[in-house]
């Protein structure tokens, strides 16, 4: 990497003392990136941008929001009706949460498909899992703030999960609530934490990027960059590609914001919270539905809670559960099939989570939960051992030259 000499004297003065310009040049401009990344690699940076959008809109919402049980609902409606462009800010924030999860889930499944978690990127992957966990906590608490029926009852159901912990469970729940039911202290602390956690996510994203830049991006063929012929500088190639991806994401996100802003929401949340009236079906937001299905699949409450948290935490172990030495599913004919089965399984879990636990939903939910864990604990190690991967190309550059037509089709 060539060390640039800055011609502008002010830039040179600053850079000598605090080398921000050199840093930016190395990490954002010259940063060598595999030349064969496809569009699935866009979703990491998209998720990062959505995080910034969420923080920006959230700061403005907090200026007008009142975290009190008797005022919260009305203050949100005031934002919708009387604050200038308040409806726009709130709808971006509301739909932004869904799109944050869409981006992150696509990013996650991309990692699973292309084996991005394998050495030396295990920590990068684990930090990613921590980001998802923190996002879920943040999103859950944010959903409580408008103090609608689903806010209240969702909060009641989820916080009650901790009562499954033996002996101290009930005390922990009271401690979380700050009282003996979900009430004003709960709302206040959720607001405080909902403002704090995004900055923790931001710090985790920084670590995620740090770990990423230590060994650079993986890529669709899953072999390392072996020289300058395999890489291209991040700018302008990936800046422009990310900019185009951002345009597409904004088209879809703002399409929902302007024309179907409540598509991802539950109508019940436009009814003010009422501790005396329980909604017929309490459902979390769509992005938590698969985990909700796992929770309900297991008849024992404590085991259900363990399974639910375990279903996320098991991702931490994926770099070691997957025993294959080949990263990309492109060269793993058997794993590739199981990947799609697993994706389908997650969608089935989401579908089951959205429905009341009655009739065949119970059986389907239990089978899908079984398969979820079976995939990680049995399929991943076994397929890694038994599968015969297809031969890998000699280099990224060779694979690009050989599969030009295919590459375009794959993106």
């Amino acid at each position: 990497m060539s060390k640039p000499t800055w011609t502008n004297p002010v830039v040179r003065w600053i850079d000598y003392r605090l080398p921000v310009f050199t840093f930016a040049n190395e990490q954002l401009i010259e940063y060598p990136t595999p030349k064969n990344l496809n569009y699935w690699w866009n979703f990491g940076s998209l998720a990062g941008i959505v995080l910034v959008i969420m923080i920006a809109t959230g700061i403005f919402l907090a200026m007008h929001y009142t975290p009190h049980v008797s005022l919260a609902f009305a203050s949100v409606e005031r934002i919708m009706r009387d604050v200038n462009y308040g409806w726009l800010i709130r709808y971006i924030h509301m739909n932004g949460a869904s799109f944050f999860f869409i981006c992150v889930y696509i990013h996650l499944f991309r990692g699973l498909y292309y084996g991005s978690y394998k050495s030396p990127r295990e920590l990068l992957w684990i930090i990613g899992v921590l980001i998802i966990l923190t996002m879920m906590a943040t999103a859950f608490m944010g959903y409580v703030l408008p103090w609608g029926q689903m806010s209240f009852w969702g909060a009641t159901v989820i916080t009650n999960l901790f009562s499954a912990i033996p002996v101290v469970g009930q005390s922990i729940v009271s401690w979380l609530w700050g009282g003996f039911s979900v009430d004003n202290p709960t709302l206040n602390r959720f607001f405080s934490l909902h403002y704090l956690l995004p900055f923790i996510i931001f710090a985790l994203v920084f670590l995620h990027l740090w770990a990423l830049h230590a060994h650079h991006s993986s890529n669709p063929v899953g072999i390392d960059m072996k020289g300058p012929q395999d890489s291209i500088p991040f700018h302008p190639y990936y800046t422009v590609k990310d900019a185009f991806g951002l345009g597409v994401l904004m088209l879809v996100l703002l399409g929902f914001v302007f024309f179907a802003p409540n598509f991802f929401g539950e109508p019940d949340n436009y009814i003010e919270a009422n501790p005396l009236v329980t909604p017929t079906h309490i459902v979390p937001e769509w992005y938590l539905l698969p985990f909700y299905a796992i929770l309900r699949a297991i008849p024992n409450k404590l085991l259900g809670v363990i399974a639910m948290f375990g279903s996320i935490l098991i991702l931490v172990l994926v770099p070691w559960l997957d025993t294959s030495r080949v990263r990309s599913a492109r060269f793993r004919p058997v794993y590739r099939v199981f990947f799609w089965v697993f994706l389908l399984d997650c969608i089935v879990l989401g579908y089951v989570g959205a429905n009341p636990p009655e009739g065949y939903f119970i059986t389907v939910g239990q089978l899908a939960t079984f398969w979820y864990f079976f995939h990680f604990v049995i399929v991943l190690p076994l397929v890694g051992w038994l599968e015969r991967p297809r031969p890998l190309p000699d280099s990224i550059s060779a694979s690009v030259m050989a599969g030009k037509g295919k590459e375009a089709g794959h993106a």
């Binding site: 009305a74 409606e77 185009f244 904004m250 088209l251 539905l289 579908y351 429905n355």
Partner: protein
Amino acid sequence: MHKALLAALLAVAFFVPQSSSRAAEGPALPAQAWSFKGAFGTYDRAAVRRGLQVYREVCAACHSLNLVAFRHLGDVGFQEAEIKAVAEAYKVKDGPDDAGDMFERAGRPSDYFPAPFANTKAARASNGGALPPDLSLMTKARKQGPDYVYALLTGFKAPPAGFSLMAGMNYNEHFPGRQIAMAPPLAEGALTFADGTQSSVSQMARDVTTFLSWTAEPEMEARKRLGVKVLLFLLVLTGLLYALKRAIWQKLH
């Protein structure tokens, strides 16, 4: 092939939970042709006016409209003088005055629609124990909101043979549980529309639903107007970015 498969899976993932999260209760809601439907839909101004009249002369006897101020009517074409006239028809409790007493005065545009009852207990006491819900957000707070409100208002029927209706309840196949404490609120010719429109039950239901859709989403017209501009801009910008991406990457191939 992967692309198509994935697109299909994503489509399933995002659209299925929405449609399935409430098990069907009662017959499906017939979709009505609302003026405010679609990307360019607006609130039919005449219907909003008639709907306000239906709310004031019928619904307001029991239902509050707490989130709506008289001044908001300006967004749907009411002139300042008209808003003043609507507001002045209401008595609003104000105070305390300099002597420390509460007093009543005529409503002002900045006031909110006064609720018919002082509190929920009073509302229940006057309605056989049932609480008439606030209507400000009603069409947003139900699945297929406007269709639901219309179906409910026009869906009162004699209960089928063998259906045991509790005392003081009315049969309505669109209400969860099929019995509702509200008596059929609309009757043929119950009011005389200021613009001479025939006041049939379906006409009144349609108009008040339009009015309540506006109270639920007063920002809708501004939102759609801005949305068309934003999406057109983004479409051009994204197209240009794609061309730029192609041009820059061309050098590599």
